[in-house]
C-alpha cells in the first residue's frame, strides 16, 4: 500500500462522504412513493471490497448498522460469484435484511476486473404485497403476512436484468409503478455511487483509494475507542415498555444493560420480552443499529459515518426475543421497537453521562396507512397514503426540547399537505402543536404534534402504529413525563366518535375523519426551577396555559399582560418546597 499525503486522504474521504450524499440525492430525486420522496425513509452507503461500510449519506441513522449484516449474508451466498454488472436485491429479515418493506439493492463496483467497493441503497417501500395495503400491520403474526419475501437474489446478471424477477415482483405488489419506480431510484443511486468511486480511482489510482478507505475505518475506530475510554467505567440498566404486542396483549418489555469498560462498550438486552405475536419483532441487525446510533449521538467528537464505528461495540441480544427474532416472526412494524430500544439505551447512558442525554422524546414515528381503490382513466387502481409522522424532542440538560422535529434516530421529513391532497382522496384538516403536552421541567419537553385526515371517497383500510398511551415518555432529573398519545375515529353519521387502540388495522368510511395526537417529550430537571420568563413566553405563545404555568411550574402571571408576578411566584414555589407537583411525577430508570 502506498503512503498517502494528508491532503489526498482528506479529499478522498470527503469525496466518499459526498458520494454518499449524491447517491441519496439521486434516489430522492427519482423516487415515486411519498414515503421515500417526502418522508425520506431510505439510506445510501458505500462499502469497501470486503463489505465494510466506508460512507453513508445523510439519511436514516437506523439503517447504518444494518448494512454489515446484509453484506455478511451476501458474501456467504455470493462471495465467490460476484461479477461486473451484477446487482443484488434482498428484503428478507432472515437473510440479512431488516423487515419486509426495506429493500436492499447492492451493486459490486469493479475496476479493471478487480472488485473495489459496493454501492448500497436501502429504501422503505410503500407496499410489497402481504395481508393489508402498505404491507406493514401491527397485527400481522407471521412474516408471510408481512409481504413478498426476497432472500438475496441477482436482479442483474452481468448487466442483464432478470426479467422474471421483475415480473414476479410486479405481480405481487399493490401499486407496481411506485414499487418498481422506487427500485429503479435505488438502482440510480448505486449507479451514481459507482461513478463516484470510478472518478476517484481514475484520479488517484486504485492503491491510493484502498489505503484511504482502510485508513478511514481505522481512524473512526480510534476516535470511538478514545472517546469511550474517557467515559467513566460502569454498568447502568434501564427498562422501558411498548404498550402492547400488536394484538392487544402486553406490555412489551425492553431491558438494556450498558457496560463501559476501558475503551469498549457492551449493550446487553437480556431480560427483554420473548418474541411477540405481532409485527414489532426486531432483527439483531436493527438492534445493533440502535446501539450504534445512541452511542454515536452522545459522543462529543464528530465521527465519520462508517463501519469503524461498530468495532468497539458488543451487542448481546438473545435469539427468540423481541430484540432478535427468529422464523417465522413478523417484523414489518419493528420500527417502534427500535425507537423504544433507543429510549432505553439513552436512559441507561443518562446514568453514565447525565449532562449529555435528553429526556425521552415522542418515542418514534406514528405510522398511519390509509389505502383503498379508485377508478383512474378507466382502470381500477390501488392507492396508499403512507404517513410517517414525526414528533418532538425531550427536554435537554441545558435547553428545551425542540417542538415538532423528527426523532434523532430517524432523519425523516413530512408529507406536504398540498402534495398529499393533490394525489390522494384525502383532506388533511389539522396539523400542528398541542398546548400543555410537553413534560414540565427546568427545560420543557417538546409539544405533541397532532394531525387529522378525512377520507373523501369510498371505503379504505386504516392501519395505525402508535404507542406511549400507557407508558408516557419519561422525564429526567425531576422532569415530568410528556403527554400520551390518542387516536380518534369520527363518523359523519350520529355514531359516537371511537377511541381506537394504539395499534390497529381497521376500516374508514367516506367522510370519516381520523385524529391522531402524538406523545409529547419528557421534561428535564425540576419544573419549579424553570426561568419564569420562559414560562411567560410559552404562555404568550399558547404553548403552555395559564393554569399549567401555575400548577406545573409554580409561576403566577397577570392574565391580561402575562407579566410575571414575582412575589406570588416566589410564595407559590416556596410552598411547593422545590419539589415537583405530583401531576407530573418523574419516572426514573431502574
Amino acid at each position: 500500500m502506498p503512503e498517502v499525503d494528508p491532503i489526498t486522504r482528506e479529499i478522498v474521504q470527503n469525496a466518499l462522504a459526498a458520494a454518499g450524499d449524491e447517491m441519496a440525492l439521486a434516489l430522492y430525486r427519482t423516487a415515486y412513493s411519498t414515503i421515500v420522496r417526502d418522508c425520506l425513509d431510505y439510506s445510501t452507503s458505500l462499502c469497501d471490497a470486503n463489505g465494510e461500510m466506508i460512507a453513508q449519506g445523510v439519511t436514516i441513522p437506523l439503517h447504518l448498522g444494518a448494512v454489515p449484516y446484509a453484506m455478511a449474508t451476501l458474501f456467504q451466498k455470493y462471495g465467490h460469484s460476484l461479477e461486473p454488472g451484477d446487482v443484488f436485491i434482498m428484503n428478507d429479515p432472515f437473510d440479512g435484511g431488516m423487515h419486509i418493506p426495506d429493500i436492499f439493492i447492492v451493486q459490486p463496483i469493479f475496476w479493471e476486473g478487480e472488485r473495489v467497493a459496493f454501492a448500497v441503497a436501502t429504501a422503505h417501500h410503500l407496499d410489497l404485497g402481504g395481508r393489508l395495503p402498505g404491507s406493514s400491520a401491527c397485527d400481522n403474526t407471521e412474516i408471510f403476512q408481512d409481504g413478498f419475501r426476497m432472500p438475496w437474489l441477482k436482479l442483474y446478471r452481468r448487466g442483464a436484468p432478470d426479467e422474471s424477477l421483475f415480473t414476479l415482483l410486479r405481480a405481487n405488489v399493490r401499486v407496481p409503478h411506485q414499487t418498481l419506480g422506487d427500485v429503479r431510484a435505488q438502482l440510480a443511486a448505486c449507479h451514481i455511487g459507482e461513478r463516484a468511486v470510478h472518478d476517484l480511482i481514475r484520479r488517484y489510482g486504485v492503491d491510493t483509494f484502498k489505503t484511504c478507505t482502510a485508513d478511514l475505518l481505522d481512524y473512526t475506530e480510534r476516535l470511538v475507542s478514545a472517546e469511550i475510554a474517557r467515559w467513566p467505567d460502569g454498568v447502568h440498566s434501564f427498562v422501558d415498555y411498548m404498550d402492547n404486542d400488536g394484538l392487544g396483549g402486553g406490555p412489551v418489555r425492553i431491558e438494556v444493560k450498558i457496560t463501559v469498560e476501558g475503551d469498549g462498550l457492551t449493550a446487553d438486552f437480556t431480560g427483554s420480552s420473548p418474541q411477540i405475536r405481532g409485527a414489532m419483532n426486531s432483527t439483531l441487525s436493527f438492534t445493533a443499529s440502535v446501539v450504534a446510533l445512541a452511542v454515536r449521538a452522545v459522543m462529543q467528537q464528530d465521527i465519520p459515518n462508517n463501519g469503524g464505528m461498530f468495532r468497539p461495540l458488543t451487542i448481546i441480544a438473545p435469539a427468540g426475543t423481541v430484540v432478535n427474532c427468529v422464523m417465522p416472526a413478523a417484523s414489518s412494524m419493528r420500527g417502534v421497537t427500535g425507537f423504544r430500544m433507543a429510549d432505553a439505551v439513552f436512559g441507561a447512558l443518562a446514568g453514565l453521562l447525565p449532562d449529555r442525554v435528553p429526556a425521552a422524546g415522542e418515542g418514534g414515528n406514528t405510522l398511519v396507512i390509509i389505502g383503498g381503490q379508485r377508478e383512474r382513466e378507466g382502470r381500477r387502481t390501488s392507492w396508499i397514503l403512507y404517513e410517517l409522522l414525526s414528533g418532538t424532542w425531550g427536554g435537554r440538560p441545558d435547553r428545551d426540547g425542540n417542538d415538532g422535529l423528527c426523532n434523532p434516530a430517524n432523519v425523516a421529513s413530512n408529507i406536504p399537505i398540498e402534495e398529499a391532497e393533490a394525489e390522494y382522496p384525502v383532506r388533511i384538516e389539522r396539523y400542528g402543536l398541542v398546548q400543555d403536552s410537553g413534560g414540565a421541567g427546568r427545560f420543557r419537553g417538546g409539544l405533541s404534534v397532532e394531525r387529522q385526515w378525512r377520507l373523501l371517497q369510498g371505503e379504505a383500510h386504516l392501519g395505525i402504529r402508535s404507542d406511549r398511551r400507557e407508558h408516557a415518555p419519561f422525564g429526567l432529573q425531576g422532569g415530568g413525563t410528556g403527554e400520551t398519545s390518542i387516536n380518534l375515529l369520527h363518523h359523519p353519521d350520529s355514531r359516537p366518535t371511537d377511541t381506537l387502540a394504539t395499534m390497529i388495522s381497521t376500516a374508514m368510511g367516506e367522510g370519516d375523519w381520523l385524529y391522531h395526537r402524538m406523545p409529547g417529550g419528557g421534561g428535564w430537571g425540576d419544573p419549579l426551577t424553570r426561568d419564569p420568563a420562559l414560562v411567560a413566553r410559552d404562555v404568550l405563545n399558547e404553548k403552555v396555559s395559564l393554569t399549567a404555568a401555575r400548577d406545573r411550574y409554580g409561576v403566577v402571571l397577570d392574565p391580561a399582560t402575562l407579566a410575571v408576578d414575582e412575589a406570588a411566584t416566589a410564595v407559590l414555589r416556596a410552598a411547593r418546597g422545590g419539589r415537583g407537583e405530583p401531576v407530573c411525577s418523574p419516572r426514573a430508570g431502574t
Partner: protein, 685 residues
Amino acid sequence: MSRETRLRIGADVGGTFTDVVILDDAGHVWTDKVLSTPPEFEQAVLQSVARLLARLEADGQAVTEVAHGTTVATNAVLEHRGALTALITTRGFRDVLELRRIRAPQMYDLFWEKPRPLVERYLRFELTERLSATGEVVTPLNRDDLAQICARLQQAGVESVAVCLIHAYANPEHEQIVGNTLAECLPGVQVSLSHQVLRERKEYERTATTVVNAYVRPVMQHYVGALREGLNEQGVDAPLLIMQSAGGLTPAEDAAVRPVYVLESGPAAGVLAALALVQRQGLSNAITLDVGGTTAKASIIEDGQIAYSPEYEVGASLSAGNRLVGGGGELIRAPSIDIAEVGAGGGSIAWLDPAGGLRVGPQSAGARPGPVCYGRGGQAPTVTDANVVLGYIRPGRLADGSVSVDLDAARRAVHDQVAHPLGLDLLHAADGIHRIANARTMRALRAVSTERGRDPRDFTLVAFGGAGPIHAASLARELGVRRVVIPPLPGLFSALGLLFSGVEHHDVRSCRLSGDALTEAALAALRADMEHGMLAQFAAEGFPADQVKLSAYADVRFLGQASEIRLPLEDGRPRTDDRGRTTEDGGGRTKDELPTTDYRLLTTLHGAFLAEHERLYGHRSDPDNPIEVVAVRLIGRAGAPDAQTLFRPVHRPPSAVRRSSGLLRSALGSGGHACPDPRRPHSRD
C-alpha cells in the same frame, strides 16, 4: 468632464464597507470605498456618490443608471431585526411555519436547536376558509373571522403581514380578499400574499418564503425609499436597480415589494464579476472567494457555468444550497447563485472560550465599532487587527483615507486580550487568529469543492473582497490550488460586477400536465399568462418588447416522481400549423392527430428529458412511463452591457495613497512569504 458624458454607478453595500464605482462611456472607472453606516446604510452610498460626482465635476443628470447590491435584507433576517410580522393561514395550520419540514440538518446531534420562527406563535392567526387541491372552495372565507384577525393585528401593532392559505397557488381568490381587507383596515401595513411571492405547491416552502418576504419588506422599503430620495436630492433621477440573488437587476420598486428575491444581492454580483473575469482569461473552472468584513463566501464555476440553487437557507451555521438536508436556517425558495457562506471576515472578533480556547467569530465588529486598529471605538481584537500585527495590512490610511490603521492599537488589543491570557507571544497569537479565520473560511471552500467530490487542484481561486487577497495564498496552499487570481480593485470587485448585468425578471406557474392534458396549447397558456405581465413590467421599466429576451423552461419529471429536471421550452406559444390553423387546444387528440408543431415541441421535450434523466441518474426509468410537467418558468432579460470594460486599467485613482512597495513581508511563517498589499490597485497610476 464634458456635458455629453454618460455615467453609470455601481454601489455595493456590505456589513463593513460600502463600495461605489462610476463608469463612463469610454470605460474609465472612478472608485470610492468607505465604512458602511448602519443602520442608515444608504448614507454611505449617498456620501460616496456625492464625493465622486464632485471629483468628476459632473452633475447628477449625467448618471443614466444606478445598479445596487445590498445586504440590508439579509442582515435583517440574520440578526432577527426585521419588522414585527404576523402570519395569516388556513384554520388548522397555524404551526406549519414552526414545524418546517420536520427534518434536522444533521444526524446524531442531540443538542441541535431549531431556529426560532420569524413569526412567533402568538402572531400566527388562523382564518376559517379552505380550498381543494384543484382550487375549488371547500369552506367559504369567513369574513367575521377576518374582521377579528384585523382587530388583533391592529392591537398587536404589526408592521407587516404574510398571508399563506392552503392551495392558494391553485386559486388566489381567498388571498386576494384577505389582501384587500387588510389594505382597508390596516392602511400602511404591508401585506405579502403567498401566490404573489411564490406561486408553487408545498405549503411550508411557500409559507416560509412569504414570511421572509414580509419580514424584511418594511426594512427594504424604507431603505430603498431613503436611497431614492437622497439620489434625487443630488439630481440623480436615473433608474435605481437592485441585484437579485440569481443575478440580474430589478427596479428598486420591485425589490421593495418582493425583497425575498434580492436577499443575496451583494454576493451574486461578485460571482458574476468573477465569471466574466474567468471567461476573459480563458479559464473554465474557478472557485470564487469573497471575504468581506463580516463573512466569507465561496462559490464554484465549473465548465464556465455558475452553479444555481432553486432554494437556500439564510442563517444556517454554514449556508450552502444544493445540500441534501435543510432545516438549519430560514428557507427561501427563490432562485439564487449557489453560495456557501461562513461568519468569518476581517471584522470577526477573536475571543477566548471558558476553557481557554482561542475562537474567532461569528460575532463581527462590523463597521461600528469596527476593528480596534481603525480607532473608531472598537475594543475587541479582530482578524483585521491580527493581520495588521502580522504585517499583512500596512498601518496608515485605508479606504477613502477616512480610516487610519493604528498598528500600536492593534498590537495592544491582541496582546492584552489574546496573547497575554494565553501566555503566547504577540506574533504567535496574531498568527493563531489568522489561521483560525482561515480554517473557518475553509469550510465554505470545502462545501463547494471537496464536499461535492470536486478536487480544488483542478480550479483557479479567484479571491476578492477587502480581505480576500490577504487570505487567498495560504488558503490556496492548504487546498492544493495552484493558481490564484486577484482581480484589479479586489475590494471593489462586486461593485464593478453590478455594472455588467442586465435587468432580469423571473416568474413561475405550478401545474400538473400529463397524458392528454399535456399539450403545447396548455404550456402556451401558462406562458402567455406570465409573458403578458412580464412584458408590461419591462415596458414600464423602459424596455420595449423587442429589447426583451424571454426564455421559457419546463420542470419535467416522470409522472409521480419527487423532483424535476428543468428543460428549456423551445417555444410554447400558440402558432400556426402546416395547414394554417391556429392550434389552441390539442386536448383529447391522439398523437397522429396533433398539429405537427405541437407534436415536435412535446417530442423534443420528452427526448430531452429522457436524455437528461439518463445523464444525471444513469437510467431512463421506465421509458413507457408518461412524463409530467409540474411548472412552467419564464425568465426575461434586457439591457445587459458588454463586459469588456470590466478589466480595463483604472483611470484616475481617487485614493490619496499613491505608492507602496507592492509587496509586504509576512512577519511570521516559513521565512516570510510575499502577500499582496490590499491598497495596491489604488496605487496604480
